[in-house]
Amino acid sequence: MRYLPHTEEDIREMLGAIGVSSLDQLFVPVPDQCKRQEPLNLPGPMNEWELKEHVGNLAGEMLGGSKIKSVFLGAGSYEHYIPEVIPYLLQRSEFVTSYTPYQPEVSQGTLQAIYEYQTLMTKLFGMEVSNASLYDGATALAEAVLMAFRVSKKNQVAVSKLVHPHYREVLKTYLKPTEYSIIEIPYGPDGRTDWEAIPKTHDIAAVAIQSPNFFGCIEDLEPFARIARDEKALLINCFTEPLAYGLIKDPGSQGADIACGEGQSFGIPRSYGGPGLGIFTTKMKYVRSMPGRLVGKTRDVKGKRGFVLTLATREQHIRREKATSNICTNNNLCALAATIYLASLGGSGLRKLAQINHDKSEYLKQALSEAGAVIAFTAPTFNEFVAKVDGLSRRYQRLLEKGLVAGLDLSPYYPELKGHYLFSVTETKSREDMDYLVKEIT
């Protein structure tokens, strides 16, 4: 096996130095009743070329053997162009094959990159501190709510029904064994969260909304910030499409205490849903209650600037059961991808790309509307929107034959929205793609 370097002679010499006669003898401490009686029953081994063919075939089965040309799905996972420099730089094996930067002198590359990531995140979301990243958007929201419980010492959270349904499910899973409970905030006819429905009981630890929300609508944070202030609760603003913040107002300036969500749009492939990037930012006054790794700036013995993991007293290897979270990694390579992506775009480029997403989405919205579809909600949107298209469920299969995945059927998530579809349009869709969709769908 090409990954195993030992020759028979090496093994003999090493066994001799240890003073045992066979490899089996090394396992003397394992009691017989724990030992496996039969060899493992596994396929393989495959050589490099067999494996390439086998896995290539599996990949080839995706998208029905690539008859699909155009996918208008978003809902938490977005199709964006990924500049070639990102996979290229991410393949630098010094980044890929290193561990968590516990030895800072030989990990400055990772550490400075995380410090840059943390900085870009704070600027983008108008917050004061960002951690080094979490697993994904859903777990970032769950961690945000747990943090709000720690900070406020209250045990209810009000969560908008327009937070991604999967994020709400994950939150429910995290809270199931605890005494914490979730109050659902309904949505109004304009496709935004109905802030007037939040109970004013002073029992709420946090108000959690998503913007742009699951319907693609941009929430007005002002009333939520006001309520959170009055109720002495934290305002959590989560997101599934961070690119929106190239164009829309940052949550920090509108009173959010935590801005968190998914960063997949920033240079990370969809990869059937993972790995993603859990972004988590907050205010400095909460830093010691914050989950996740943090990198800080410092100096070395000669006064040279360098970076280290810091504030580890929040973390489980020191605090054990009193830690702010059980998370002991970040999704480092994904955070690095996001950093390189944002560095490539820059402030001017991010703005421009966000505007293009908005423009294209508006184009499809209008074209569908003119063709007879009903745009379900009036609130402004970024690059996703909901439309009711008569008879689409009947025609969905036929559209697949024509190479189109025409949006996401919302009825499994919101039974009241029968016949409603969530459409996502990014910079990857040309006018031609959209015109074709409109022609075939209506």
Binding site: L26, G44, A59, R92, K302, T329, S344, S430
Partner: protein
Amino acid sequence: MNTEKPGTSGLVLNEPLLWEKGRKGRVGFSFPLQDVPSQALDEEFTRDDLDLPDLSEVDVVRHYTRLSQWNFGVDSGMYPLGSCTMKYNPKLNESLAALEGFSEAHPLLLSDLSQGALRLMYELQGMLAEISGMDAVTLQPAAGAHGELTGMLLIHAYHKSKGQHRTKILIPDTAHGTNPASAALCGFTPVVIKSGEQGILRAESVAELMDEDTAGIMITNPNTLGLFEENIHEIAEIVHGMGGQVYCDGANMNAIMGVVDIGSMGVDVLHLNLHKTFSTPHGGGGPGSGPVCVKGHLEPFLPVPRILERDGRFELSDDFPHSIGRLHTFYGNFGVMIKAYCYILSMGAGGLKRASQLAVLNANYIKERLKDVLHLPFERPCMHECVFTDRYQRKYKVTTLDMAKRLIDYGYHPPTIYFPLVVNGAIMIEPTETESKEEIDGFIDCFKAVVKEAEENPDLLHQAPVSTRIGRLDEVEAARRPCLAG
């Protein structure tokens, strides 16, 4: 003895922070054609400033290439970080995970359009069940600690289904810090069990603490001292006897593939780390993947969605009323799963067993060859890692940290230090099976040279590392006055 250091100091370039370079108006991105009219967003929602640095593509490439050169990885050299299994990460698996069919797949595509991914995940579940000796597997947890949380949720749900509310969980003093933190998330109060004098748990200690208010035990086997918990069977019987469940942290699975049947050890729940045992890269801290394997009686509680197979076709189903629910936005870190799947198929049954045997061989060889110069707290055969201390060096005022830093000058990544906490000044070495005898001999010789320096010239160690771009960093200052963004 060959003490010629593999480490040397080459040309390493300085590089400022991202925002200390670049010019306003530069861009490193290729924009698509503006083929639709521009429509302004309502001003009420539009932000005015966006203060991110503007750079060209060349700026970006050079910046991150230089940064990468400040890192040490498995591809740079031996990385014997204990309990982390820093084995070689096959390059083939990276390319296969990047195949467009996978990387461009949207997670909400109908199952008809996702057969390749679903089949791969389904087969990987089967392989992990076979390797562990358990009955059913979920791939959803995104990391080891996420797997621990999943396991705790499963145990919580199991007791609840029996109408019980148990509040405590037993955790040995050698456990990873994530264990108590994960248990606490489920409302369990961790009760610490002291390991015995031989570095392993005594069944009597478990019997003393186990009661009907205790949900179970979280045990790491092989444990973090690199020792096999020989009494595991008896311990499991005690825990089961009181209606508890046995959770096994499988972080150290690399020692026992094809040798040990975890199922027959009496374990009910196990998490694996694909980024340790199954060769997927650590990426400087993630993404990882932490599948959870269970015995049949816990299967109904596994997270949803689950993959069903019907006549060779695969689909996702949420229809499991006893499930603990969802744990990840979608199905876990699929990109990481592909690499582990490829690894298992490349190795086959024989290759995996051989890998574990050689990992244990390498660790025992290091233990034998270094025990004359480093204090070995537990003199007994180890599994895939061995733990020393700095006891012999303290008289020269040299600590574990000093030796670790000096090893960097010799061209090696240091071992894990000061863990497990039960060993004072621990030096935990896990070579893995992918290091050859020459590499290991080189490491041993250099470690011996460091020990010699400790006796003759301890200051050399206090100042180490000296061949890196920067020296030891002021961590106290970093924590006292946190500067977390520029």
